[in-house]
């Protein structure tokens, strides 16, 4: 709970309502259900609360009606929604995205020391196998005379995404809040998007996904891409499920070194995942000469890098302080 208290109240309220609205658009029943799930779920994965708990108290609950009004009803009058119906609602809100947002990430290369907490947190959240990286910390050096540095590489959620263009079945798509997601209930596993992505951001489930307890009963959440499915694509989702809860992405929160800023470009604010400080996005980029990767490809990424100057940690990897010639890009 202490983590929740850290966040501002208004923001929490807003996102809570936001999640209700997202579902309310589908069906009133689904909205009611999701509302309940939000209150009782407490961040756990139990999307389906027990039926008994619906009837044992005189509790009132806030729900959103179909025309967008907030109402309070007796919890007794509620009936749980079928699993399939809730799945449809989840899929729908996942494809819609969060209205009014344009998510962006800023990665400060001068602070990265290859701690890889981001990679671990990400793999844990998305039930990835050891060799699957939604975010990958790369060792970079442009040429012999330039400095080596560590570069975390998530998906860039491009505004002109080459990956979604080529998908034959609309399994990967761009939402209104800028996030590029994958629907692994629909993906046919052709891997055209892997070929199309110039940043190698996508991974494939070549085998059965990692076994995680409870995955069998879990409803598929397109915003978390869990459970993973054999024969389908996966990639960084900007932790869309966390954003819906008003939290920062898994990787951003996990970083011990203040590398990541995350926020909404429309609000022009980004929050550092380590320090919690919120700064102006435009100022951060302007003052530090922020840039995007391979801009000449015209993909218009939503992830910005701050140059690896005045690095806090000297580059060191497996005893080496510089990269070999053939490793230069």
């Amino acid at each position: 709970m202490s983590e929740k208290n850290k966040e501002s109240k208004s923001r929490r309220e807003f996102l809570k309502t936001g999640s209700l609205i997202g579902l309310g658009a589908v069906a009133a029943g689904a909205a009611t259900y999701a509302g309940f799930s939000y209150e009782s779920g407490k961040g756990s994965h139990d999307n389906l609360p027990l039926k008994e708990s619906l009837t044992d108290t005189e509790q009132k609950i806030k729900v959103l009606t179909e025309n967008g009004d907030l109402a309070e009803v007796d919890i007794k009058s509620l009936t749980p929604v079928e699993k399939g119906e809730f799945q449809t609602a989840l899929q729908h809100q996942g494809r819609e995205g969060i209205a009014g947002k344009h998510w962006t990430m800023v990665i400060d290369l001068s602070k990265c020391r290859n701690a890889r907490m981001c990679m671990a947190a990400c793999q844990n959240a998305h039930h990835l196998r050891e060799e699957q990286h939604h975010i990958n910390v790369l060792r970079m050096q442009d040429d012999r005379n330039s400095a080596p540095y560590f570069m975390p590489k998530p998906c860039f959620h491009c505004d002109n995404p080459p990956c979604t263009k080529v998908c034959p079945v609309d399994a990967t798509f761009k939402r209104q809040d800028g996030i590029v997601l994958i629907d692994n209930e629909r993906c046919i596993g052709c891997r055209f998007c892997i070929a199309a992505c110039p940043y190698s951001a996508r991974v494939f489930n070549w085998f059965e996904p990692k076994e995680v307890e409870g995955d069998d009963e879990l409803l598929y959440n397109v915003e978390l891409n869990v459970p993973q499915k054999k024969g389908t694509i996966s990639k960084c989702l900007f932790s869309a499920d966390r954003l819906r809860e008003g939290k920062l992405p898994y990787c951003v929160s996990a970083c011990p070194n203040g590398v990541y800023y995350f926020g909404d470009m429309n609000e022009d604010t980004v929050t550092n995942g380590t320090t919690g400080s919120t700064v102006r996005f435009s100022e951060l980029i302007r003052d530090n000469a922020g840039y995007t990767l391979l801009p000449e490809l015209g993909t218009k990424p939503n992830v910005y890098y701050l140059p690896a100057k005045n690095r806090l940690f000297p580059f060191q990897y497996e005893g080496k302080t510089t990269l070999d010639d053939e490793e230069h890009i």
Binding site: H133, P162, V166, P168, R186, I188, P198, Y199, S200
Partner: protein, 448 residues
């Protein structure tokens, strides 16, 4: 007197056609062994594919970086070979190159065999073949894959018609001529010949229909291979990000297809004893055709490799170094030299356009064409814009596993199976066209 003599001569000529061309349909020497071999290959395919379905695509050597391998290369090859149907029947046919007449059906059969299996090859590459229908339910017109499916289906349809229409008079002919046809085959011929009796009116309609299909198939055939090339050219990867991929692929396809036709002609010449139909003259002509298309292909290769090699622009340079002097140098130069340069030089001499030599050279050309597709697909995936790091060693290389080998062999087995069946069930040379060439249509139709 002289009239009746020439009539006698005409009749004997038609009799010879019937004997030579229809006979192989009824003598099955060695067929059982060949079919057994194909069946064995098919069983291996089913076994390998079953394992792939059960355990996932991880049983292949493909991984997150080289995520397309021998399956996609093989798909490109299959589509490429099938293009020859259009080149021979349509382009040369419409140009009134009458020497192609005995070869048209062979070319169409190759086209059909390969293009029909091409669709299956791509399904073998899918991670979720169980969701194939999603392509039709959720298909996005913006995706080149959807374009590819559309044009390939169209090409299969037109190719089938272009195979079938010129078959009608021959079916009616074979039905009358072959007394001991099995009942099913007689029924089949009877139904498929659509009551053909060879009136001038029917011939007029037939010619019109064939001409229409020949015109129609040209843009569709160009489209299938151009769109297939766009599966690569529509990406931002060095090595694929080039504008000449469409014509480059089409030119390469003609090389592969012409070589395949030569090989099959040679097999039929020997096995079906069709020396009088696939003559030295025809091989000489096919040799010239193969030189011509190979030279066009060579020209595209120069453009594709030498222009970027002159500039050695960042990412392109990495790609070209792997091809010219790196990991893929042996394969690259092997294909260019033994699959293109030496064949071109040899085939410039008439001696090497004799049946035996030309078939021998064509085998090299065809194998080269298959390997060339690997060179087009795999190396590019091995050096993306950003470095490959923090992944197991297997992600850095690609060499097909035995599963991939058997699934790929299986696709050849299926294509050869279709080709064998068509060659066994139907006359392999359009007899009525030969008769027409000689002005013997009347005799061809008058048999009773």
């Amino acid at each position: 007197m002289s009239n009746s003599l020439s009539k006698e001569k005409a009749k004997s000529k038609i009799d010879k056609y019937a004997a030579d061309i229809l006979r192989p349909m009824q003598s099955h020497g060695g067929l059982e062994l060949w079919v057994l071999l194909l069946a064995l290959g098919f069983v291996m395919y089913v076994f390998a594919y079953f394992i792939q379905l059960r355990d996932g695509l991880g049983v292949t050597a493909m991984r997150d970086y080289v995520s397309w391998g021998v399956y996609i290369s093989n798909f490109v090859f299959f589509v490429a070979v099938s293009l020859v149907g259009m080149l021979i029947s349509a382009v040369l046919g419409l140009l009134k190159q009458n020497w192609i007449k005995p070869l048209t059906r062979v070319a169409e059969i190759i086209a059909l065999g390969f293009v029909m299996v091409a669709g299956l090859v791509i399904v073998n590459d899918m991670g979720r073949p169980d969701r194939l229908l999603n392509v039709f339910i959720h298909g996005r017109i913006q995706s080149p894959i959807v374009w590819d499916i559309t044009v390939i289906t169209t090409y299969v349809t037109i190719s089938l018609l272009l195979f079938y229409l010129p078959l009608i008079p021959d079916l009616a002919f074979a039905k009358k001529r072959l007394k001991n046809l099995p009942k099913w085959q007689y029924m089949l011929f009877n139904i498929l010949s659509l009551g053909w009796i060879g009136t001038p009116e029917q011939y007029k309609i037939l010619h019109k229909g064939i001409r229409l299909l020949a015109i129609l198939i040209i843009p569709v055939a160009l489209a299938i291979h151009t769109v297939t090339s766009w599966l690569f050219a529509a990406t931002l990867r060095p090595g694929w990000d080039t504008t000449i991929f469409g014509p480059y692929f089409v030119a390469g396809a003609f090389v592969a297809g012409a070589a395949a036709v030569v090989i099959l002609m040679y097999i039929l010449r020997v096995n079906y004893k069709l020396k009088d139909y696939f003559t030295d003259f025809h091989f000489n002509k096919m040799g010239q055709l193969l030189v011509l298309v190979s030279l066009v292909y060579l020209y595209f290769n120069l453009n594709e490799f030498l222009v970027p090699a002159y500039k050695m622009k960042g990412a392109d340079a990495v790609h070209l170094h792997t091809l010219f002097s790196g990991k893929y140098a042996v394969l690259f130069w092997g294909v260019q030299i033994f699959g293109m340069l030496i064949p071109i030089i040899l085939m410039l001499f008439k001696k090497f356009r004799s049946p035996g030599w030309l078939a021998f050279i064509s085998v090299f050309v065809l194998i080269g064409a298959w390997l060339k597709r690997i060179i087009i697909v795999v190396p590019t995936l091995m050096h993306p814009h950003l470095p490959i790091q923090n992944v197991p060693e297997a992600f850095h290389k690609y060499f097909p596993t035995w599963i991939e080998v058997f699934v790929t062999l299986g696709s050849f087995v299926m294509a050869l199976g279709i080709i064998t069946a068509l060659l066994k069930i139907f006359p392999v040379i359009p007899i009525w066209e030969l008769a027409e060439e000689e002005g013997l249509t009347e005799e061809f139709e008058s048999y009773d």
